[in-house]
């Protein structure tokens, strides 16, 4: 479920040890921004993005990077860092290129850990820092705060200081309103040399379950015991009236031997036939199973995709050093065009903020989403690795003893021997009789 939450998508982002500015400024070559989004669950997602042209050395600190304080950033419930490098044209004809470096850092602050259970937040409470000055080399240095209200009335939250401008856009199919703080705007910081953005909920959001996205998914292993099991993926379409197709891609390691005939897809209690299936069977120790399906998800439904498997017994050198931990099965990948609720609106790419490139909108009626379900942990039948030496000794002994005795019993012939009777006298007599050539007594 966690993997399916929108926050996972939201976060891409940034990097950066310290801030970045260009020594020799074309002033437009560094853009930095921070997007702060309160999540429905009460947590707060913060996404930094720094984009620069990498044609000279990077030096200096300042601007948004003062907020990057390790002990705070690692006390969060999610964090992700990325570096993107790509060539960009320097002019319209593309006669020369520069390299563009984009660094992103996304973190999700846990409301219960940083906010002591309150959903109000401020820059200082999250980062234990406030913004003091813009990066002098940056051509753009902005903070965006998501102030979208989920209810109709606009009175549920307020930001402080009040923003000079707001910006509206459609992100993942919902209309969002952002308050913009431009750090290059001298009025913004100069008043107190200190910008501490705060958000207060006028009416705290009720303790209800947070709203669910239109598409989310869940995956688990069912069954018990170490012989068989079942992989189940639940696909939720919570849209009230629109059905949409989903491309489901599964790669399953070879040591889970899939029974493809047990593949069942059910929606609303009825069988759901996928419009396309591609299956490539596994080869032991060479390649995993590959299963790809295009499934239509009916409106407001849960679709269950399940397939049974048998656990293989590995060679003993193939076990990992921690075999009792279990083996990971990678997540299913869901790709879908999810319908959005808002109407289309033309977007001016040059003027729009950087984060738009993270959530490209092709057309207003739906948007593209790629979801990863949670990875699974599957236990395989595992021998007791502390035992082999004992077992080898014991079995060798048993085999040796049994083999010797049985071989003995099978190859010897038995006949009943008359017990030796008679004493010394009889033996002597027999000796004499044998010497005489007469049969013994």
């Amino acid at each position: 479920m966690a993997a399916a939450m929108p926050l996972a998508l939201l976060v891409l982002l940034l990097l950066g040890p310290r801030g970045w500015c260009l020594a020799e400024p074309p002033r437009d070559s560094l853009r930095e921004e921070l997007v702060i989004t309160p999540l429905p669950s009460g947590d707060v997602a913060a996404t930094f993005q720094f984009r620069t042209r990498w044609d000279s050395e990077l030096q200096r600190e300042g601007g948004l990077s003062v907020l990057l304080k390790a002990d705070r950033l690692f006390h969060t419930s999610y964090h992700s860092q990325a570096v993107h490098i790509r060539p960009v044209c320097r002019n319209a004809r593309c006669t020369s290129i520069s390299w563009e470096l984009r660094q992103t850092l996304s973190v999700v602050f846990d409301a219960f850990i940083t906010g002591q259970g309150k959903k109000d937040w401020s820059l200082f409470r999250m980062f234990s820092r406030t913004l003091t000055e813009p990066c002098p080399l940056a051509s753009e240095s902005r903070v965006y705060v998501d102030i979208t209200t989920y209810n109709q009335d606009n009175e549920t939250l307020e930001v402080n200081p009040p923003p000079t401008t707001t910006y509206q856009d459609i992100i993942l199919g919902t209309r969002k309103t952002y308050a913009i703080y431009d750090l290059l705007d001298t009025a913004m910081i100069n008043k107190s040399r200190n910008l501490n953005i705060q958000l207060k909920w006028k009416r705290p959001p009720e303790n209800e379950a947070p709203p669910v996205p239109f598409l989310h998914a869940q995956r688990y292993v069912s069954g018990y015991g170490l012989q068989k099991g079942e992989l189940s993926t639940l696909l939720y379409n919570t849209h009230p009236y629109r059905a949409f197709p989903v491309l489901l891609l599964d790669t399953v390691p070879w040591y889970l031997r899939l029974y493809v005939h047990t593949l069942t897809i059910t929606s609303k209690g009825k069988e759901n036939k996928p419009s396309y299936i591609h299956y490539q069977p596994a080869q032991d120790r060479l390649q995993p199973h590959l299963l790809e399906m295009l499934i239509q998800l009916p409106a407001n439904s849960v679709t269950k995709v399940s397939i049974q498997f048998e656990r293989a017994l590995l060679k003993w050198t193939e076990y990992t050093p921690d075999p009792n931990h279990g083996f990971y099965v990678s997540p299913s990948v869901l790709s879908a065009l999810v319908p959005s609720v808002v109407a289309a609106k033309p977007v001016d790419w040059e003027e729009s903020p950087l984060f738009n490139s993270l959530f490209p909108v092709s057309d207003g009626s739906n948007y593209f989403v790629r979801l990863y379900t949670e990875p699974l942990l599957v236990n395989l039948p595992t021998p007791d690795f502390s035992m082999p030496y004992n077992v080898i000794c014991l079995t060798c002994t048993v085999v040796a003893v049994c083999y010797g005795s049985f071989y003995n019993l099978l190859t010897r012939t038995f006949h009943i021997e008359e017990p030796r009777t008679g004493g010394l006298a009889k033996r002597l007599a027999n000796l004499i009789r044998r010497a005489r050539g007469v049969p013994p007594l």
Binding site: V221, V378, L409
Partner: protein, 619 residues
């Protein structure tokens, strides 16, 4: 082997076994019992030690201080519970959400095969509530469970309070690497069973339940908590699960570590024996554990987790008359420590023993050391089988032992059987198995017929039908006599006894391997009578002995022994009532949780016992 391949020496050995058979049997039986009693003494018991590295050396500092919060939660819970008369689902959901958990509910319903008079329930429906604490920066692949089963009365509200306070405390920490599931189940074990089946998406007992919305990967360990008061003098730990399964000993060691730290903890029942650690106490604890394990029922909701290979135990707060009492903070700290150490686990618990007996919390007997006790008892049957065989072959070939006997007693006995004519054995075998089948099927199937014709309730009908069929089995000898026409009187009963002995030995051997306690208990009682049964001599005495050691009588005796060991002796009438209740519970547990004791006794041991009864009254 050399001994066996030499016909002369083999014959000598056979003669020795035959001549000394009775003393050898007695010796072996006595050795078995003596070995078992000796398990209490140090050479056979060892001190427990932590095998799992991940939990052993690392230290944790417990910081739980939410005693007041736990008590407040418990009060609120009890009040809401009283008001609504059932589990206050909405309140629990709200409270769990307010402490920051991801909350889900699951509703379930189950119609029991017949009304459960002990718990006063028949058509059961309820709701489980569980909250998941998601570990930060982890992918929800592993989880731990803290569960509180709530029965029909509100005795467990302190445990719910402590669970919520612990959840609030855990939620504020950032070191969790595994998700933690806080589970409150309604109708105690039925709710737990419903939740577990839904979590693993299987249906083994015919429970109807709604599918789970939230999951947290593979469950690594579970702790069930039962508290009935604000203060405890000690914490008792229950390990015995369904069908005598036990959790890994390391989980118990973990509990013991924190008990030593906090000074609280015991095993095996309401008394605290921490101060008196003598052999007598050890024996008492050991016997109690053997009886609990032999019963095959889950002693706490942890018992149901074991089927899914989730190591689990139940902690039960005991409030006795000792001076020093611990409050909820101490219990909470012990739990916090356990969970933090379980959080360190890199692999499933697998390093320590899965098969053990506990004469005290800090001592254990491993499987290698207790098995000889059962082995000696089974040896009696082996000796009897070989002597019977020799006697039979002796009847056949007065000249001596032939070569054909070399391949072992079973094929020998088959040869002997051919002499008798298998036909004469088919009837008693079939009839006794049919009686067993009737005992297994009829009571539940025929309860409605019984309630229509007799003035009894369903539950009574089931128990009385059970007893009636059981007793009717004793009429078997007369029945078979009309069917069987015996030619050679002696050989007939000997062949039957041979078959019965082999059957019994195989069954007891298998049971002792999977559930030592049950195997040992049954071997102790059934072996002497089985060895003695024959149609000559003091038949009344033998018959009395056989009846006294039949499976049902063993159950009755175990109940008396159980209460005697708990220092709450039973009067005869109470004992009988308890016996009837235990019968009903046994049948119910088979149907609701899949306990195997009832089918094992009715389909396996009872028919086998009938064979001996048949031998005794052979004419």
């Amino acid at each position: 082997m050399g001994l066996l391949s030499d016909p002369v020496r083999r014959r000598a050995l056979a003669r020795l076994v035959l001549r000394l058979n009775a003393p050898l049997c007695v010796l072996s039986y006595v050795a078995g019992i003596a070995w078992f009693l000796a398990l209490v003494f140090p050479p056979l018991t060892q001190r427990t030690y932590m095998s799992e590295n991940a939990m052993g050396s690392t230290m944790v500092e417990e910081q739980f201080a939410g005693g007041d919060r736990a008590r407040a939660f418990a009060r609120d819970f009890a009040a809401h519970r009283k008001k609504s008369g059932a589990l206050p689902v909405a309140w629990l959901e709200r409270t769990m959400r307010s402490v920051g958990l991801e909350v889900y509910t699951q509703s379930f319903s189950r119609k029991l095969p017949f009304p459960d008079e002990t718990h006063e329930r028949y058509m059961v429906s309820g709701t489980n509530v569980y909250g998941i604490l998601r570990a930060p920066r982890a992918a929800s692949t592993e989880s731990l469970v803290l569960t509180v089963p709530c029965g029909s009365d509100s005795t467990n509200s302190q445990a719910v309070g402590l669970l919520l306070a612990l959840a609030a405390h855990f939620r504020g920490q950032i070191y969790w690497a595994k998700d933690i599931i806080f589970l409150v189940t309604e109708h105690d074990l039925l709710g737990t069973e419903a939740w577990l089946e839904a979590y693993h998406d299987v249906n083994v007992t015919g429970m109807q339940s709604s599918p789970l919305q939230g999951r947290a990967g593979a469950i690594q360990a579970a702790v069930a908590l039962e508290l009935s008061s604000d203060v405890v003098t000690s914490l008792d730990v229950a390990v015995e699960g369904l069908n005598g399964q036990l959790p890994n000993l390391d989980l118990l060691n973990l509990f013991q570590t924190f008990c030593q730290k906090g000074g609280t903890g015991s095993v095996g029942g309401p008394q605290d024996w921490t101060s008196l650690d003598g052999p007598l106490q050890g024996l008492q604890t050991l016997l109690l554990m053997v009886l609990r394990q032999a019963s095959g029922r889950p002693h706490g909701s942890h018992g149901l987790f074991l089927r899914y290979r989730v190591e689990a135990l139940t902690l039960r707060g005991i409030n006795s008359f000792r001076q020093y009492k611990y409050d909820l903070v101490a219990v909470g700290k012990a739990l916090e420590g356990m969970f933090r150490k379980l959080n360190h686990l890199l692999e499933r618990l697998h390093q320590s023993f899965f098969l053990y007996l506990l004469p005290a919390l800090s001592r254990f007997v491993s499987i290698g050391l207790y098995m000889p006790a059962a082995g000696f008892l089974l040896l009696v049957l082996g000796l009897k089988i070989s002597s019977l065989h020799e006697a039979e072959v002796g009847l056949e070939e007065p000249g001596g032992v032939g070569f054909q006997g070399l391949t072992g007693p079973i094929s020998k006995s088959l040869c002997a059987l051919q002499g008798v004519g298998l036909a004469s054995l088919v009837a008693p075998l079939l009839i006794s198995q049919a009686m067993g089948l009737a005992l297994y099927v009829l009571p539940v199937l025929g309860q409605h017929v019984a309630t229509q014709h007799f003035p009894v309730a369903e539950a009574e009908a089931v128990v009385l039908t059970l007893l009636a069929i059981y007793a009717a089995g004793l009429a078997l000898p007369h029945n078979t006599h009309r069917v069987v026409s015996t030619q050679a009187p002696d050989r007939g009963w000997m062949a039957l006894k041979l078959v019965a002995l082999i059957y019994l030995a195989l069954q007891l051997g298998c049971i002792a391997l999977t559930n030592f306690s049950l195997g040992f208990l049954l071997a102790t009682t059934m072996v002497p009578a089985a060895a003695l049964a024959k149609p000559h001599g003091p038949r009344t005495l033998y018959a009395a002995l056989l009846v006294l050691t039949s499976p049902a009588a063993t159950l009755l005796g175990s109940l008396f022994l159980w209460r005697e060991l708990q220092e709450a002796p039973l009067s005869l009438a109470e004992g009988w009532q308890l016996f009837l209740a235990a019968l009903a519970q046994g049948v119910l547990e088979h149907h609701t949780y899949g306990a195997l004791l009832f089918p094992l006794l009715s389909l396996g041991l009872y028919p086998c016992w009938l064979l001996f009864w048949n031998v005794l009254f052979w004419k």
